[in-house]
C-alpha cells in the first residue's frame, strides 16, 4: 500500500510555507491536519521510508485510559480519526475495536483506575470498573485469581500504526502536501531568530515554518542548527514478543490487556499474541546520538525480557505451549517528565516540534497532530496544552547525561502507580538556592521544578518519615502533621520560605518605553507611583493568561517582575516577541546569577571614572549601565532613581569621556542580581524585619503591596516587598546572591524570639488554596481569562491603553463567561479515612457534570479540604456551553468525584474572608468591594 502515499523522487521544490521533518505518525498527522485546515504549500521530508521508524514497530494499541486530561482528549480524538480513516482514504489500517481491560492487582491500582474511569465517563468515553469475574468472561485466557478489579474501556482499539501513517500521508498528499522520502534534513536555516529554510542532503528549501517530528532524532536535529533548539528527549530499548497463532486462533476482537502491576501489555496479534512491557531496568540507547536511517531491528535480549515473560505466563498460563515468532526490540523515546513535547521553540520563531511520545505515539498521534496544526494556523491549539509545551523546558534539561539518567526513571514510571506529589529521583540538584545546604541540614525534603530544588517541608529532628516506596498513597500522607505545624506557624508567628526559584525579570528603559510596552502587555494599570506592586495577568489576544505575575515599579523607568518558576522560558519568549525592538529598552532575566555580565568596556570605563564602577549588561545590541562608587565599601549606589538619562550621564561621567554619552546609558538600581528570594510569612514578620533594619515597618510606613530597597542586617540594598504569595501578611526579600546566607542567618537568629521556623511549599500551597489564590500553570492557563477566575480587579479596561486581550475581555464582559473558577470546600470528607482530592476530579452540579478541579489542598484553618476548579454550564439538550452567572454558581448543589466516590462540596466564588483574621490586604479589600457591588 506504499504506492498510495506517493513519494516524490524528483528534485525538491525551492520553497514552501512549511517543511515537516519526519514521515512517522507524527509528521504525517501534522501534514494531514495542516492540509485539512487549508494550508497549501507543505513539504514533508523523511530520511528513510515513510512510517519506517518507531511507527513501524509500534505495538498498535490505542488506549484512551490516560492519566492526564489533555492526553485523554488527544487519544479520544485519535480513536475517532483512525476509526474513519480507512473510509476516508481507502487504505486498510487494521482498525479493530477490541476494547481494553486494565487490571488491578492491588487496591491502590484500583483507586488509580477508578480515578481514570471517573474522568473518562464525564467526557463521554464509555468505561466501567469491573470485577475479576467479569474480566474472566471478557478474556478466556486470563488468570484472574490475583486481581482485585479492572477497568474496561470497550471502545479502545488496535490498529496498524504504519498503515495509519501511510493513510494520513496519502490523504495529505491528495490535499497537496508534497512528500519526499530518502531525504535527510541536515539543519534548519535561521535568520534573526526566525526560520528561513532547511538544508537537506538534496538541496535547500526556503520556508517560513519548520516542524521537527524526527522522533528519537529530534534532539540531535534540534541541536544541529546554528541557534540550537533544545528538545529534551532520549530513547530506550523497548521489547515485545510476537508468537505464532494458536491452533484455534483467538477471536480477533479479544480485548487488549494492560497489567500495569505486572508491567506488561498483551494484545491479540494475527491469531497469536503480542506482548511487551516497561521493565524496571530500562536500557537507554543512542546517548551519543548514533544515527541510522531506519531503525534496524536491534538485538533481541531474552535475558532482559525474562521478568516480563514470567509476568506474561503468570497472567496467561495457557501460553506455555505457544510457539515464539520473535522478540522485537525497537527504541522508544521518552521525555524528562513523561509528557510529550509540542509547540514552538522559545528561541526560533517558526520552529515547531512534535516528538517525545513516551511510547504513546499511536494513541496521541491524531490529537497531537491536530493541536499542533491548530497552533500553527490559528496561533493557539483549541485546548490548553501547557503541560506539553516545549517551553516548559529550558536548555538546562538538555544535557545528555541528565536525559540518559532521567529516562531510566521515566520508562518504568509508565506502569508505576501514579500517586499525588510524586517527585523524580534522578537528575536532581541541578539548580539550587545558595541556602540549599543550610536548609538541607535542617531537615528539608525537596521537590524539583524546572530543575530548581525547592523545599517541600522540614522534617523535625525527632521525626521519621516513611521510606519512599511506602510513602506512596492516595490517602492522608505521612507529612500531614509536619505541614500543619508549619502552616500554624505562618498564621501565628512567622515562617521563612526560600522562594529563590521564582522567575524574575527586570525591564528598564531610557524613556517611557518600559511603561508603555508593559501597559500594552499587561491588563492591570502599571502607571502607579514608584514603589508600588501590582498583581496582573499577561494576557493573549483572547484574554487568556499567558502568565500571572507581580510587578513592582522600581523607578519611573524600570520594573521588576516576578512569575512562577516554570515561566522562565515561556515568559521570556513572550516578552521578547511583543516588546518593541528598541535599543532603549532592556529586558533582563535576573533569576540566574550569570545574567549580569561585566564586559570589557566595564573595566576600561570604571578605571577612567576614578574609582567609580559601572556595571553593564549586554543583551544583543542593548546595553545598560549603572554607576557605583567603587571607592566606598559595598559599592554605594551613586545614582538614585528619578534622574533622567542625561542627568545621570552628567552626574557620573567626567567631562573627558564625551564619546560615552552618545551611548544609551542610564542608571539602574539593579546592578546586582536578585537571585535569592526569602518569603517571610506571618504576623510577626513585621517585627523581625523592623528589628533587622531599624526602620519602621508599620502599614503607614510600609503599606501592603509596596516595594522598598533597604538594609537587612549588615546587607544593604535588599529589595523588600510587602506581599506574600499566600495571602498571609508578610514580606518577600529579594537578596543579591552573596548576601543570601547572611540575611537568612540574621532573620533566623532575630526571629528566634518570635518563634520563627522554616516552612516549605506544601505549607504555602495549603495557605494559598484556602485563600483562593489561583496559580498559573495549575488553575490559570492560556484559555482562562481574568473574568473567569475572579481576577476582575486585576484588569483595568479603562486605563486608556488598548492592551493585548482587551477586546476579548470587553466582549466577554458584555456576553458573560462560559466557565468560572470556583473554590469548593468538601463537607462530608473524612481527612483521615477518605481518598484525598488531587486535581482533575470531576465536579458535579445538581448531579450533572460541570467541570474539573485544577488544584486542591487541605486547609488547616477550615479543617476541610479545599479544591479549586472550573464550573461550566452545559446545556441539558445540546451539551453546548452556556453563560455561567454568579447566580448559577451560587444556586447549585455540588459534589466532587474522587475515584468514583462523590463528596458534597460548598462552592465559593470569593475567599472565605470571615475565617481569616487579617484583612489588611489590599486585594481582599478590592475583592470584598467588588463583592458588595
Amino acid at each position: 500500500s506504499t504506492s498510495a502515499a506517493e513519494a516524490h523522487s524528483i528534485a525538491l521544490p525551492a520553497q514552501a510555507q512549511v517543511v515537516i521533518c519526519g514521515g512517522g505518525i507524527m509528521g504525517t498527522s501534522v501534514a494531514y491536519h495542516l492540509s485539512k485546515m487549508g494550508w497549501q504549500d507543505i513539504v514533508l521530508l523523511e530520511q528513510g521510508r515513510l512510517a519506517a521508524g518507531s511507527t513501524r514497530f509500534c505495538a498498535g494499541i490505542l488506549s484512551t485510559a490516560r492519566h492526564s486530561s489533555i492526553e485523554q482528549k488527544m487519544a479520544d480524538y485519535s480513536n475517532k480519526l483512525y476509526h474513519q480513516l480507512e473510509q476516508e482514504t481507502g487504505i486498510q489500517t487494521g482498525y479493530l475495536r477490541t476494547g481494553s481491560i486494565s487490571l488491578a492487582q492491588t487496591q491502590d491500582r484500583l483507586i488509580s483506575l477508578k480515578r481514570i474511569n471517573s474522568r473518562l465517563n464525564v467526557v463521554g468515553i464509555p468505561s466501567e470498573i469491573i470485577s475479576p469475574k467479569k474480566v474472566a468472561e471478557l478474556h478466556p485466557l486470563l488468570n484472574v485469581h490475583d486481581l482485585v478489579g479492572a477497568m474496561h474501556v470497550p471502545e479502545d482499539a488496535v490498529v496498524s500504526s504504519a498503515d495509519v501513517a501511510l493513510a494520513l500521508a496519502s490523504a495529505a498528499s491528495q490535499n497537496g502536501v508534497q512528500i519526499y522520502d530518502r531525504t535527510s534534513v541536515l539543519h534548519v536555516l535561521i535568520k534573526k531568530g526566525q526560520v528561513t529554510g532547511v538544508e537537506t542532503d538534496k538541496g535547500q528549501i526556503e520556508c517560513q515554518y519548520f516542524v521537527n517530528c524526527a522522533g528519537q532524532w529530534a534532539y540531535e536535529l534540534g541541536l544541529s542548527n546554528e541557534e540550537p533548539v533544545s528538545i529534551p528527549l532520549h530513547a530506550c530499548e523497548h521489547f515485545y514478543l510476537l508468537t505464532r497463532p494458536w491452533d484455534t486462533p483467538l477471536q480477533s476482537n479479544t480485548p487488549t490487556i494492560v497489567d500495569a502491576d505486572g508491567r506488561i501489555y498483551i494484545r491479540n496479534w494475527q491469531g497469536g499474541i503480542l506482548s511487551g512491557g516497561f521493565e524496571k531496568n530500562p536500557k537507554p540507547i543512542f546517548t551519543e546520538g548514533k544515527n541510522q536511517l531506519e531503525i534496524q531491528n536491534l538485538r533481541e535480549d531474552w535475558d532482559h525480557f525474562e521478568p516480563l515473560l514470567s509476568s506474561l505466563l503468570r497472567r496467561m498460563p495457557g501460553l506455555e505451549t505457544l510457539e515464539i515468532l520473535k522478540l522485537v526490540n525497537c527504541p522508544e523515546t521518552f521525555t524528562p517528565d513523561m509528557k510529550c513535547i509540542m509547540g514552538e521553540s522559545p528561541v526560533v520563531q517558526g520552529y515547531f516540534v512534535l516528538a517525545g511520545m513516551n511510547s504513546a505515539g499511536l494513541s496521541l498521534g491524531g490529537g497531537a497532530g491536530k493541536f499542533l496544526a491548530e497552533w500553527m494556523v490559528y496561533g493557539y491549539p483549541s485546548e490548553n496544552v501547557w503541560e506539553l509545551d516545549l517551553q516548559r523546558f529550558g536548555a538546562l534539561q538538555s544535557s545528555r547525561t541528565f536525559l540518559r539518567h532521567r529516562v531510566m526513571e521515566v520508562m518504568p514510571l509508565i506502569y508505576d502507580l501514579k500517586v499525588p506529589r510524586w517527585d523524580f529521583q534522578t537528575g536532581r540538584q541541578l539548580r539550587t538556592s545558595p541556602l540549599y545546604d543550610r536548609l538541607d541540614a535542617q531537615g528539608a525534603r525537596w521537590m524539583e521544578k524546572h530543575g530548581f530544588e525547592r523545599p517541600k517541608y522540614f522534617v523535625p529532628p525527632n521525626k521519621d518519615l516513611l521510606a519512599l516506596e511506602q510513602s506512596k498513597t492516595f490517602y492522608k500522607p505521612d507529612w500531614f502533621d509536619i505541614v500543619e505545624s508549619e502552616v500554624k506557624c505562618c498564621k501565628e508567628a512567622v515562617c521563612v520560605i526560600d522562594m529563590s526559584s521564582f522567575t524574575k525579570f527586570e525591564i528598564t528603559s531610557t524613556g517611557d518605553q518600559a511603561l508603555e510596552s508593559l501597559q500594552y502587555l499587561f491588563s492591570n494599570d502599571l502607571d502607579v507611583p514608584v514603589g508600588h506592586i501590582v498583581h496582573t495577568g499577561m494576557l493573549n489576544e483572547y484574554g487568556g493568561y499567558e502568565n500571572d505575575c507581580s510587578i513592582a515599579r522600581l523607578t519611573k523607568r524600570s520594573f521588576f517582575m516576578i512569575s512562577p518558576t516554570d515561566q522562565q522560558v515561556h515568559c521570556w519568549a513572550w516578552l521578547n516577541k511583543y516588546l518593541p525592538k528598541d535599543s532603549n529598552l532592556l529586558l533582563e532575566d535576573v533569576t540566574w546569577k550569570y545574567t549580569v555580565q561585566q564586559s570589557l568596556e566595564w573595566r576600561q570605563f570604571s578605571r577612567s571614572c576614578f574609582g567609580m564602577g559601572i556595571t553593564s549588561t549586554v543583551s544583543e545590541e542593548k546595553e545598560i549601565y549603572s554607576a557605583w562608587d567603587m571607592a566606598s565599601p559595598g559599592g554605594h549606589l551613586l545614582v538614585r532613581s528619578g534622574l533622567t538619562a542625561e542627568e545621570t550621564i552628567e552626574y557620573i561621567l567626567p567631562a573627558n569621556l564625551p564619546h560615552y554619552t552618545s551611548r544609551a546609558l542610564h542608571a539602574s538600581q539593579s546592578a546586582a542580581t536578585f537571585s535569592s528570594a526569602l518569603n517571610l510569612i506571618g504576623p510577626r514578620a513585621v517585627d523581625v524585619l523592623s528589628e533587622l533594619s531599624y526602620a519602621p515597618m508599620t502599614p503607614d510606613h510600609f503599606p501592603t503591596l509596596f516595594c522598598k530597597e533597604m538594609s537587612v542586617g549588615y546587607a544593604n540594598g535588599i529589595r523588600v516587598m510587602s506581599m506574600t504569595h499566600t495571602g498571609e501578611p508578610g514580606f518577600m526579600l529579594y537578596i543579591p546572591i552573596e548576601y543570601a546566607l547572611h540575611v537568612y542567618n540574621e532573620v533566623m537568629s532575630v526571629g528566634q524570639k518570635y518563634g520563627i521556623r522554616n516552612a516549605g511549599y506544601y505549607a504555602l500551597r495549603s495557605l494559598r488554596i484556602e485563600k483562593f489564590f489561583a496559580f498559573w500553570g495549575q488553575d490559570l492557563n492560556t484559555l482562562t481569562t481574568p473574568l473567569e477566575c475572579g481576577g476582575e480587579s486585576r484588569v483595568k479596561l479603562e486605563k486608556g491603553i488598548d492592551f493585548i486581550g482587551r477586546d476579548a475581555l470587553l466582549q466577554q464582559k458584555q456576553n458573560g463567561v462560559y466557565k468560572r473558577l470556583v473554590m469548593f470546600i468538601l463537607d462530608d470528607h473524612d481527612t483521615d479515612l477518605d481518598l484525598w482530592p488531587w486535581w482533575g476530579e470531576p465536579i458535579y452540579r445538581n448531579g450533572k457534570y460541570a467541570g474539573k478541579t485544577t488544584s486542591s489542598a487541605y486547609s488547616y484553618t477550615l479543617e476541610r479540604h479545599v479544591c479549586l476548579g472550573y464550573v461550566h454550564n452545559f446545556s441539558e439538550d445540546s451539551g453546548e456551553e452556556q453563560v455561567v452567572t454568579t447566580d448559577f454558581v451560587n444556586r447549585g448543589e455540588y459534589e466532587i468525584d474522587i475515584a468514583g466516590h462523590r463528596f458534597q462540596a460548598k462552592a465559593k466564588l470569593y475567599p472565605v474572608t470571615s475565617f481569616f483574621s487579617h484583612k489588611r490586604r489590599k486585594d481582599d479589600v478590592e475583592l470584598s468591594d467588588f463583592h458588595g457591588k
Partner: protein
C-alpha cells in the same frame, strides 16, 4: 546435644562482615560519555589480623593524567603500611609532574596561596589519614619536590613513568628512614615515625593512563591482568614478580649483593636472614640500618620502643646491611581491547587461590550473563514455556553471582568459602569468618583486593587512532 554449628554466622551476618569494607568507584560520565580507559574499580578487605595490617589506596592524578591504585601489605604492625598508603601516591604524583607545575606549587606554598590539588582520593570511610603527621609528611614531600626543581637541568625531557615510580618508591623509603633517625620533638610523632620505620610494608601499585599500564611492585603482592580470549574464555597475565624465595632471580640478586660467605645465611628457610618472607619492602629498618645506628636510635628513642623486644632484637648473621630494599620492579603493559580488568591483591588472596581461578571468577562475574551466549530464537521452534524454563535456569545460575555488588567481595567469597569443587560453601564461609582473631591468622592472611575494570571501547579507540 549442642553442635558447634550453632555458633556459626547466619548468611546476613556473613554478608555484613564481607561488606563492611567494600568500596566501589565508577568513573563519572560526562554528557553520556566516559572517556577514561577505566570504567571504575571495586575494592574490599577482609582482616585476619586485628587490627588489619593491609592497606589500600586509589586516587586520580589531577595535574597529570592517569589513575593510581595500590595495595599495601604490612607486617610487624600496620604503621608502615598506613604511612605508605597515605604518602606513596603523593611521591609518585610529584615525580610525574612537569617542572613548571612543580615551580607553580612551590611558589604557591612559598607565598601561602592555595595549592593546586594533586590527587583526588577515592576512599572508603574506613581508610583514614593520620592528621598528626600530615605536617611532617608534607615537609618531607616538599623537600623532595624542591630537590626535583633544583635537579632540573633546564632541558624539558619527557617524564618516564617507570623512572618516576622507582624514584618515588625509593625516596619515600628513604624519607621514612630519615624521619626515624632525626626524630621529632613531639613525643607522639617521634614514636609514630619510629613505629613506621621499624614495621614494614610491601606495595603493589598500578598507574593507568590511557592504554599505558605500569605496575610497580615491591614485595609479594600481585597484579594480575584478566584477558578475554576470542572464544570468551579467560586467561591470566601476571604483571608483577613476587619478591620472595620462590623467585630464583631474587635469590640470585640477594646472593650477588652480599659476600660469598653469607650465601647460606642471607636466605634461610625461605626467609630473608631466616626472618622475613618478602625480599623487598618499605620500612623494616632492622634489615637496612647498621647495628650501630639501630642501637643508637633505639636507646635515644622513647621507652615504649626500648621495652619492645622485637625492635631491640638484631637479626642473626647481620654483617653487610642493607639486606632489604624498597626499590620496585616496574613492568609496562600496553592495554588491548581484550584486557578487561586488573586484579591487585595482597598475598592473602594468592595463597588461597590460583591466579587462573581468580581471573576466571572475576571475569565471569563482571561480564555476567552478557557473555553467556545470548539466546536467539532464530528459525527454531521454541515455545514460550521452554524459553521461560531456559531463562529461569540462566537466571538462577547468575543470581548467585549478583548477590555481590562488588567484584572484590565476590572474590573474597570464593577465596574464603570455596570448597573442593570450586563452589562457595556457605558452611565453610561462616566457619572461616567465625574464627576467633588469634586463630584466623593461622588459616589465612589479611586479604585486600582491588579490581579495576577497563573500558574496552576507549581502549579500542586508542588502538584505532594509532593505526
Amino acid at each position: 546435644a549442642s553442635t558447634p554449628q550453632k555458633f556459626y554466622l547466619t548468611p546476613p551476618q556473613v554478608n555484613s562482615i564481607l561488606k563492611a569494607n567494600e568500596y566501589s568507584f565508577k568513573v563519572p560520565e560526562f554528557d553520556g560519555k566516559n572517556v577514561s580507559s577505566i570504567l571504575g574499580f571495586d575494592s574490599n578487605q577482609l582482616p585476619a589480623n586485628a587490627p588489619i595490617e593491609d592497606r589500600r589506596s586509589a586516587a586520580t592524578c589531577l595535574q597529570t593524567r592517569g589513575m593510581l591504585l595500590g595495595v599495601f601489605d604490612g607486617h610487624a604492625g600496620c604503621a608502615c603500611s598506613q604511612a605508605v598508603s597515605e604518602r606513596l601516591f603523593y611521591y609518585i604524583a610529584v615525580s610525574l609532574l612537569p617542572h613548571e607545575t612543580l615551580l607553580e606549587i612551590e611558589n604557591a606554598v612559598e607565598s601561602g596561596r592555595a595549592l593546586l590539588p594533586i590527587l583526588q582520593w577515592h576512599k572508603h570511610p574506613n581508610d583514614y589519614f593520620s592528621k598528626e603527621a600530615s605536617k611532617l609528611y608534607f615537609n618531607s614531600l616538599r623537600t623532595y619536590w624542591q630537590e626535583l626543581i633544583d635537579l632540573n637541568t633546564g632541558e624539558s625531557t619527557d617524564i618516564d613513568v617507570k623512572e618516576a615510580l622507582i624514584n618515588a618508591f625509593k625516596r619515600l623509603d628513604n624519607d621514612i628512614s630519615l624521619e626515624a633517625q632525626v626524630g621529632d620533638p613531639n613525643s607522639f610523632l617521634n614514636y609514630l615515625v619510629l613505629r613506621v620505620a621499624f614495621s614494614g610494608a610491601t606495595a603493589c601499585v598500578a598507574h593507568v593512563d590511557g592504554v599505558d599500564l605500569h605496575v610497580a611492585n615491591t614485595g609479594d603482592s600481585r597484579a594480575m591482568l584478566g584477558v578475554q580470549e576470542e572464544d570468551g574464555s579467560w586467561s591470566a597475565v601476571t604483571l608483577s614478580n613476587d619478591h620472595n624465595a620462590q623467585n630464583e632471580r631474587e635469590l640470585e640478586r640477594l646472593k650477588l649483593e652480599h659476600p660469598k660467605n653469607e650465601a647460606k645465611s642471607v636466605v634461610k628457610q625461605d626467609r630473608l636472614l631466616g626472618l622475613l618472607m618478602p625480599f623487598r619492602a618499605f620500612g623494616d629498618v632492622k634489615f637496612k640500618w647498621s647495628i650501630d645506628l639501630q642501637k643508637r636510635v633505639i636507646e635515644s628513642g622513647p621507652d615504649q620502643l626500648n621495652d619492645n623486644e622485637y625492635t631491640k632484637f638484631i637479626p642473626p648473621n647481620y654483617h653487610t646491611p642493607p639486606y632489604l630494599t624498597a626499590e620496585p620492579e616496574v613492568t609496562y603493559h600496553r592495554l588491548r581491547p581484550q584486557d578487561k580488568f586488573l586484579v591487585l591483591a595482597t598475598d592473602g588472596l594468592w595463597e588461597t587461590m590460583h591466579r587462573q581461578d581468580v581471573v576466571r571468577i572475576v571475569g565471569e562475574y563482571l561480564t555476567g550473563m552478557h557473555h553467556q551466549q545470548p539466546i536467539a530464537v532464530g528459525g527454531y521452534k521454541v515455545t514460550l514455556g521452554q524459553m521461560h524454563g531456559l531463562l529461569t535456569e540462566r537466571r538462577a545460575k547468575m543470581s548467585s553471582v549478583f548477590e555481590d555488588q562488588n567484584a572484590a567481595t565476590h572474590l573474597i567469597h570464593h577465596a574464603v568459602g570455596n570448597n573442593e569443587f570450586g563452589a562457595v560453601d556457605h558452611e565453610r564461609l561462616s566457619k572461616m569468618l567465625s574464627l576467633p582473631e588469634e586463630l584466623a591468622r593461622m588459616y589465612r592472611g589479611d586479604i585486600t583486593i582491588i579490581v579495576v575494570q577497563f573500558n574496552s571501547h576507549v581502549v579500542g579507540a586508542y588502538q584505532n587512532q594509532e593505526q
